[in-house]
Symmetry: D2
Subunit: 195 residues, 4 copies
Amino acid sequence: MIRMKKLKSIIDFLKKAKRGPQIILKKDFGMIVAETGCNPDWKVVDAGTGSGFLAMLLGNLGCKIYTYEKEKRFYNIAKKNIKNSGLKNVKVKNSDITKGIKEKNLDMITLDMKNPEKVIKHGYKSLKSGGWLVIYSMHIEQIQRIWKELKKYDFKQLKILENIQREWQIEGRTFTRPKTHMLAHTGFLTFARKV
Amino acid sequence: MIRMKKLKSIIDFLKKAKRGPQIILKKDFGMIVAETGCNPDWKVVDAGTGSGFLAMLLGNLGCKIYTYEKEKRFYNIAKKNIKNSGLKNVKVKNSDITKGIKEKNLDMITLDMKNPEKVIKHGYKSLKSGGWLVIYSMHIEQIQRIWKELKKYDFKQLKILENIQREWQIEGRTFTRPKTHMLAHTGFLTFARKV
Amino acid sequence: MIRMKKLKSIIDFLKKAKRGPQIILKKDFGMIVAETGCNPDWKVVDAGTGSGFLAMLLGNLGCKIYTYEKEKRFYNIAKKNIKNSGLKNVKVKNSDITKGIKEKNLDMITLDMKNPEKVIKHGYKSLKSGGWLVIYSMHIEQIQRIWKELKKYDFKQLKILENIQREWQIEGRTFTRPKTHMLAHTGFLTFARKV
Amino acid sequence: MIRMKKLKSIIDFLKKAKRGPQIILKKDFGMIVAETGCNPDWKVVDAGTGSGFLAMLLGNLGCKIYTYEKEKRFYNIAKKNIKNSGLKNVKVKNSDITKGIKEKNLDMITLDMKNPEKVIKHGYKSLKSGGWLVIYSMHIEQIQRIWKELKKYDFKQLKILENIQREWQIEGRTFTRPKTHMLAHTGFLTFARKV
């Protein structure tokens, strides 16, 4: 396997990694793994890289990752983070994914970027049969645009999910209750499968 | 790697796999992966096996899994499911984990069983430093008993989470809204790390 | 006071009342009372009446209610329900509210109908200063249209809320947990105040 | 009617009212009104008064309220708030409700206090048939104790609810999404009816 033994815990590593743009939350990453059933044999394209957190989390699972970032400064942050992680199976590219996807026969494409609807056409071509397209969106308007574009291709198993995670606390031995504050929203995940 | 190429999609496979006792939901499995950062190098002990769904989902990630099931009939269901999955890295044992854990130097222990508090003592010994104990509970009373027992050992990063997943629908082009019904509850996940 | 003593419990009454179109849920009615602080001195216009549940729930609080329903068959259902309730302060009108609101100096207008954006213009004129406009919407697209229209008038304290209600169960003495199923969605409530 | 016209908006008034101990949130008050169907004819006992917010919100609906507060300093805060509100139908008493309830034939009793289980016995006697007992609890352990005590009397329609309220935002014309942060927890409301 390509993954290096050097990385003892991705969770510990990411706590200290450099953060440029907004990063994906663990709860949303977990949903991607769980819904798609990704595994170490998978070849995955990801965009935009941002600080590289999603690419590294998927890389930690042993997948081969190609991650696209068009902005030079985010590319540099991600490149450094990935190098420090020791992950040899994550390749960051300073390219604009809306211009096209070079890699073919992909098991999954993950998009967390502005205008992901511009990538759906390329994504459909690059996915293998059974492969997944996963799009992270903050706003309802993005979902609406994505949905309209997805309908033009032969995608199946379309699904839009959001994960509301609640943390509980036990103070002393006797005060069990949800913590007072929580994140009400990070984003929506749209799943579509080429079948 | 041990994982077989034969298994094309764990998600497709599990839809058809035999179900005996209640199975873990994808949303809860996703939380385990995301919170612990598990990876293909991990050695994991799981109990009770039930129909083997959590063991197979973790096995699909390439981890080496030892799963304990004391009930003969569930053991048989799980054995068959695991065989059909083609996963070579998931070993099911017809044993009672409350009697002890043979495997040592574990990266993770996942418990979804009655009285998981009886396993915490064994679990603490079998985990490596940095290893995670993850317990799935349906009822608050279980969490309360677990919490009390966890406090006797040197666990850190204690956390109780629940995942409330909401699905959205877009009917036609213009009717975006959450689906009417949802699962209000599957279970709580308690995380504890030996450090 | 106008309210009749005859009605012992609106909750008991509504369980048996006739239901035509979809009715408002208690959780959403509660939000209207709580956010606006309505009281028995209020004069309220409501549309569309539907089966009259919201009109009767507000009428039970002692408010003077004028409720508009353009569909004859719903008007008839509501008329009968209101008569059976014994509430003397709820008046149902077989009129189309998009054509205009006759009543003036209103404390609140509640809208649960198609195209509520067509009523905002009339509503603004009929509300007293400090009065509330409350709109129930099932879909995001409705909220978006409402929002755009609200912005044309001098409304303040704009707020969009949804209420996710979770019921808990205690089985026997020791099994505390949320009930398994819940309503994931009934609707969104948009509040706007003329100030 | 007893309620004074002087109070133009309870919502505006409470924003400026003095706050001593933790106050009830609007979302939880709304649930009480909606589940019980309270109306201006009701006679209600409330304890502990705290800053008087729940008593005043119920008083604003026209109910006759007797509210018990054993702590002198909270009693003083509440007394002042109620006087400023102009509500003539809310009476605050500097008494310990665990010692007994003087008022009889009550439509509702609302409890937001330590050890509400000590009041259930008195409450059962003071409620009229069809009357509601409503208890606000922050912790699961409180619910468990309440539930055990409620089972000793002939209460029906037992229900435990929590209200998770999510606010949405529309930035500009095109960015519809839930607000980032929310309250994950205020409390649980237990309802029981004497029938």
